[in-house]
Amino acid sequence: MLSLAGTLAVWTALVASGWLAVAGWQAARNPFADSRSIAALRRSLLVMVLAALGAMIILEAALLANDFTVSYVANHHSRHTPFPFNIATAWAALEGSIVLWGLVLAGYAYAVWRRATAGGTGPDSLDWGALAVIGAVGVFFFGLMVTVANPFEVCTEAAARSCTASSALPFSRAVGPPDGLGPNPLLQNHLLMAIHPPLLYLGYVGLTVPFAYGLSALALRRSGPGWLRRSGLWTRVAWVFLTAGITLGAWWAYEVLGWGGYWAWDPVENASFMPWLVATAFLHSSLVQERRGMLEAWNFVLVIGAFSLTILGTFLTRSGVIASVHSFTQSAIGPALLGFLVVVTVGSFALFAARSQQISSPPRLESPSSREGGFLLNNLLLTVYAMVVLTGTLYPLALEAFTGSEVGVGRPFFDRMAVPISFALLLAMGIGPALPWRVARARVVWSRVHLPLQVALAAGVLVIIAATRVGYVVMAVIAGSWVVAVAAARLWSQARRAARPKGANAWSMIPAVIRSDRGFWGGQLAHAGVALAAVAIACTANLSQTLDRVEMAPGDRVEFAGYELVHTGVSTTRTPNRLKSSAHVEIWKNGRRVGLAEPALSQFETSALPIATPGIHHTLTQDLYLSLTRIDEQAITLRAATAPLQWVLWLGGLTCAAGGFYSLVGRKRRRSGAVRSPEGERAGG
């Protein structure tokens, strides 16, 4: 019954996407699109949105109703999966995650429509063209749902805990197992798991929209500020979600996976990081085009690149070519995604090449030492960074595919490449906002940066005297403070300038200065977030202490990093689908009990390996991270590590996302009529 409804919803969404692609293209090609073709477009869009929403609701209903005749439910759900993980199961495995993908895409299509029709200038062919591209992308994803990734197949043969055969024909005789195995145990351990995939999807899928506008502009020969402004807006939206999603993903790994880290350069992490890097590059280079008309061709490359990388990432993590926490079972979806990736990249770049003559030739750079030059440097660094991550991720695969020889490319490789690039980015982030447009004279730049530079160096000196002489930490503090101090100095000098004619207090002018250019100051807030994250990463990577595998019987104590850890006993809790054994470890410091940590190992009946859950003692200066590798009544094997300033990393990531969000709010205002002061960057220091 639900299989039938779900199948109908997905087919409807598929047809509606195709209809949207056709109607959008017809409306786009006719500069005076008549109300009939617009009405067709609107109808197809609404059908697509409702059908995609319907598919998701039906999937959730099947999960909540324990309808094990639906193949997805039989294979990925269990009666005992607790709330909210029974809801999150809808995107915890391959087919369901594609349903979520389709829903988010339809949501973006609707938002694009709303935005296009609500504005004062009215929609134009660029918007219709973009909707056509979104429709075409929708055809692919809804197409996956009716073929290789169909969650609504009818289970026709059932074993005790799973569905052994299923059919895509909704009227097949349905047999359901009495219960299922439930989702991957790793995914039902923490609330963050329910949140971070949807956020990441909002980010990934959001990058479809700038790509759609880019393609629309190329196809319609409409280069110029129109597509750029729209792409910039939607890239910001996607970027905010992507930033938040990556941060929460790292947080989840830290709180749940029990290996003490938050980032492993795992292919799936790289898959989210590469589009982030390219989207970040676009956010900056789009400013150069907006301001100076330069770099338009490059901007097309970036929006196409960012979207292609999301598809590549989906292919890498969903096809089973790389085994990781995130890759689901192997299926025929791999070749389909690979084919789509080839079509997207080859098609888009062919269109780009065909139109390259018509992309306006840019005015030249007057001087490399200028704001434009800073943005160029930023783009070069971010692109090379993305290239490093891409090469490192694909190299082992390519080498094995072509020569059969295996090579490991892991953390040491990525760290070695990423650290210098990140430092260069931080320095660029500090100097960039201080550079005037066109030409920056040394005197002006020096007058803007000398004080921040001294503040930053002084912060470094303070760290050396008070805390540590570890080079990476000191350099990260200096670079990070430099980024923040340059922004603060710009803010202060502009507030003073704004206050002077009014005879007002400069402090009181700060909110007004910030409000006058939300885009710029939102960007500076995001920079500050990156600076915080950099300091936190340097601290956790270099100042962490570790204690490897100590055997402890109940009553044993062990000294570690100024703490005394006491193993007081073991307790086990049994829930229907797992047996969780927790160790009680008291944490003492200076003769006082400061906390109790309960690291645990859970044995899920569906998986052979136990799942480790860390016990974390959070303090303001550092986390104490305890995890188990073995537990029984007689003894535990404990691992411990300190993670200095770990919380600052989460703060930094979320600050970064908040900065993007703030700049987004600012853009909205400007488009609805409020006058924006040009960059607030008048006159030197």
Binding site: A264, S367, V384, V407, W437, V461, N542, L628, T629
Partner: protein, 143 residues
């Protein structure tokens, strides 16, 4: 900026000197600092991929196989072997293990060359395409 001459003096002399002094302090303290004494076995273990698990190093993996290998590394560290000796012996004892940091060889050359090529191409492109062929007619200090 009440007093222009005082300001100029500050910009030209005091400020650079102060900056230099602070920078010198940082450079000297960092170059004379003891090398960070992180656990050597831990550091070596992080470079070796655990053969029984995916993409994790033997220092991070909770598996017993990795624990064995780490035990061997610790033993060799206490014997006072050099990093390279330890890695060589480890690879010999556990033939299925791999370095996570690929050594520079012919088959890994591209891995290092591709990012470098991207960097050089980017620099050349920026330099040739955007070099200033227009006479800047009206250059002011800032926009």
């Amino acid at each position: 900026m009440a007093d222009p001459t005082g300001m100029r003096l500050l910009l030209r002399w005091v400020s650079p000197l102060l900056t230099l002094a602070l920078a010198a302090f940082v450079v000297v303290s960092l170059t004379t600092a003891d090398p960070a004494h992180q656990d050597r076995a831990e550091r070596i273990g992080k470079q070796v991929r655990c053969p029984a698990c995916e993409g994790e190093s033997i220092a991070e993996s909770p598996s017993s196989y990795a624990a064995d290998m780490m035990g061997y590394v610790r033993e060799m560290v206490t014997q006072g072997l050099s990093d390279q000796q330890i890695l060589d012996r480890l690879m010999a004892a556990y033939p299925r293990s791999q370095m996570l940091d690929p050594p520079f060889q012919t088959r890994t050359a591209l891995l290092w060359a591709l990012p470098a090529t991207a960097l050089v191409t980017g620099l050349l492109l920026a330099f040739y395409r955007l070099r200033k062929p227009v006479a800047p007619e009206s250059i002011r200090d800032s926009t």
